[in-house]
């Protein structure tokens, strides 16, 4: 692929929220890029800013500052109308298949809505045909067209959400925890579907999740976030085999492995995530870090190149 032209490049993205207690740094200086057809996994715990990042890229939340270059154009500078047109190419799949579908609309109305909004159908028959085609693609039976969301189970609802995102034929999709509300057996169905769709339609994904095993399965590259910042970024295999940042290591060791082999005693992190409101200008992980030293409080560590595609923001991790 054309390596030199990433489909999406995010530079110094920041999103601060004003709260009564001060500025909440939800996303603080995040940069990354994704090649066409690849999957970037963004991993972190609740409150690390991963969802805000995903929504800021699509301007569902207006970022405070930064640049989001999609196919070379900074979408943060687009006018409302231009942005609306741009949405045909950039879509999102939501976490909660229960609240992301309008309960008063039928399945076909939900899937056809994007087509109608962008006036992409020549006739209602054309529209119906396209809805049917996309339902077939995501594995929804045709008889469900006139059902309402509450008549469907979680997995089918999530398929409707995917169909709605795909019907505009986007090239880039933000997947915000698309499987975390589903049962394991259904989760596997949806993950496989998403993989198949990526291959068939040559899609680019940002896959946001708190579940490392899920991204390990899907992502080509993984960015680990902590308190609004990317602390480590590497190709998936590299990250799992040679995690560098203490937080990444802790995260990996905290996952309960469903197997009796390779059992290691859990070494849980102590303490909890600190407040994102007016964070100090130091390493944000330092208060919980087992290796923290004086150097950790001397400013925010920058993402440093470790060789290959491996980047880490920790003053202790050298080459």
């Amino acid at each position: 692929m054309a390596e030199e032209h990433p489909i999406l490049e995010v530079r110094n993205l920041k999103k601060y929220f004003k709260t009564p207690k001060g500025m909440l740094h939800a996303v603080d200086d995040v940069s990354f890029c994704i090649q066409r057809g690849k999957t970037l996994g963004i991993v972190g715990e609740s409150g690390c800013g991963k969802s805000t990042t995903g929504r800021s890229i699509l301007r569902l939340i207006e970022p405070t500052s930064g640049e989001v270059l999609f196919e070379g154009r900074d979408i943060l500078r687009l006018s409302k109308d231009e942005m609306r047109r741009m949405r045909q190419k950039m879509q999102i799949i939501f976490q909660d298949p229960y609240s992301s579908l309008n309960p008063r609309m039928t399945i076909s109305d939900i899937i056809a809505e994007p087509l109608r909004l962008h006036r992409l159908c020549s006739s209602s028959a054309d529209c119906e045909k396209r809805v049917q085609r996309i339902m077939e693609t995501v594995g929804l039976a045709e008889r469900l067209v006139n059902s309402y969301p509450h008549e469907l189970d979680g997995g089918r609802r999530q398929r409707v959400g995917i169909a709605r995102a795909l019907v505009l034929q986007p090239s880039f999709i933000v997947c915000d925890e698309p499987v975390s509300a589903l049962d394991v057996s259904i989760q596997a169905q949806i993950l496989n579907l998403m993989q198949d769709l990526q291959e068939q339609l040559h899609l680019t994904y940002i896959f946001i999740t708190h579940n490392l095993s899920v991204v390990n399965h899907l992502a080509d590259e993984i960015a680990v976030m902590y308190l609004g910042q990317v602390v480590e970024k590497a190709p998936a295999i590299e990250l799992f085999e040679h995690p560098q940042h203490p937080y990444t290591k802790a995260l990996l060791s905290a996952i309960p492995v469903p197997s009796l082999k390779k059992r290691t005693e859990m070494q849980p992190l102590t303490g909890e995530i600190s407040s994102p409101i007016n964070p100090p200008q130091t390493c944000r992980f330092a208060p919980r870090c087992p290796y923290a030293c004086d150097r950790c409080t001397e400013g925010v560590p920058a993402l440093r190149h470790l060789g290959g595609e491996h980047y880490v923001a920790c003053c202790l991790c050298q080459q």
Partner: protein, 299 residues
């Protein structure tokens, strides 16, 4: 081909499913006996109100005085007896239903439109707009409904239209609050964000996504409020600020009949009972609707 017949039956089934939401609500409604009782009574009242002139002529029966037959008890000729001027109480009740329902429904429409718009604006835009609108509504709410209505009628004069406006404005804040609350709860749901993500504009989001999901609490409240409005009309008429004689309003009938309560108790009891049953039925219907419309209660 075999396939096409299969497709046809499939289509048939689809059509059936499309109506399923209404059918489902109706099915839940029907299981609630009290609500069905309310619905039946309200339906009868509506039919009676619509065909009032066919049941008993207004000029010759309802308001025509006939002192000879005054204060008669119920009989085959006068089903509900006669009042102090010898008028047929049944006929007056029938025409009274027309007035009560008309005032109730129009007043609620006034309240719904004004309160609904204000509430929707407050809820969707939030911030200062929200604050200003809702504080004004709070001021309205701090005055007892009846007192407010008395003030408005006293200021504008007592006519049927003024009565409707008075009662309508008095229940406006309730609607503003309900609409605002439901807009707020719907606004933050993911499907609204999803609509924005596919490129929908504000007006589309409000009309297509927010409003339909706010309808059920509004319908329920409107039903309940018609009852309150009828009661307010009766109360205002009772203290002669509402519908003027000789128009047969239920509250006014109560008021004028109360002097004869010892000699002819039926002229008070019958309209009083009717008011009670009407209010009760509307409330039962409203409660039933709330249970039937709320999909979250669905198991």
């Amino acid at each position: 081909m075999k396939n096409s017949t299969a497709a046809a039956t499939e289509k048939e089934q689809l059509k059936k499913r499309k109506r399923s939401q209404m059918t489902e609500i109706w099915r839940r409604m029907r299981r609630n006996r009290l609500a069905m009782f309310g619905l039946v009574i309200v339906s009868i009242l509506i039919i009676v109100a619509v065909f009032a002139n066919q049941i008993a002529d207004y000029n010759t029966v309802a308001i025509k005085q006939n002192v000879v037959e005054r204060l008669q008890g119920p009989s085959a000729e006068h089903w509900a007896g006669t009042d102090e001027f010898g008028r047929d109480i049944f006929a007056r009740l029938v025409h009274g239903a027309r007035i009560s329902l008309l005032v109730g429904v129009v007043a609620v429409c006034i309240a719904l439109v004004t309160g609904g718009i204000l509430g929707a604006i407050a809820g969707y835009f939030g911030g200062t707009v929200d604050n200003v609108i809702m504080r004004i509504m709070d001021i309205f709410l701090s005055i007892p409904i009846l007192l407010l209505a008395i003030m408005i009628v006293a200021a504008l004069g007592s006519s049927m239209l003024n009565l409707m406006i008075a009662i309508g404005l008095a229940s406006m804040p309730t609607f503003a609050r309900i609409v605002r609350a439901s807009v707020l709860s719907v606004k933050d749901q993911e499907f609204v964000e999803a609509a924005r993500a596919i490129g929908a504009k504000n007006d589309h989001i409000i009309l297509r996504h927010i409003m339909p999901n706010c309808l059920s609490p509004i319908i329920v409240q409107a039903t309940l409020r018609v009852a309150t409005a009828i009661l307010s009309t009766a109360s205002l008429s009772f203290i002669s600020l509402g519908i003027q004689a000789p128009a047969p309003e239920w509250g006014a009938m109560l008021a004028s009949g109360r002097a004869y309560i010892r000699d002819a108790p039926h002229i008070v009891i019958i309209p009083g009972l009717l008011i009670m049953i009407t209010i009760l039925s509307l409330n039962l219907l409203g409660d039933g609707l709330r249970d039937a419309l709320d999909p979250k209660l669905k198991r």
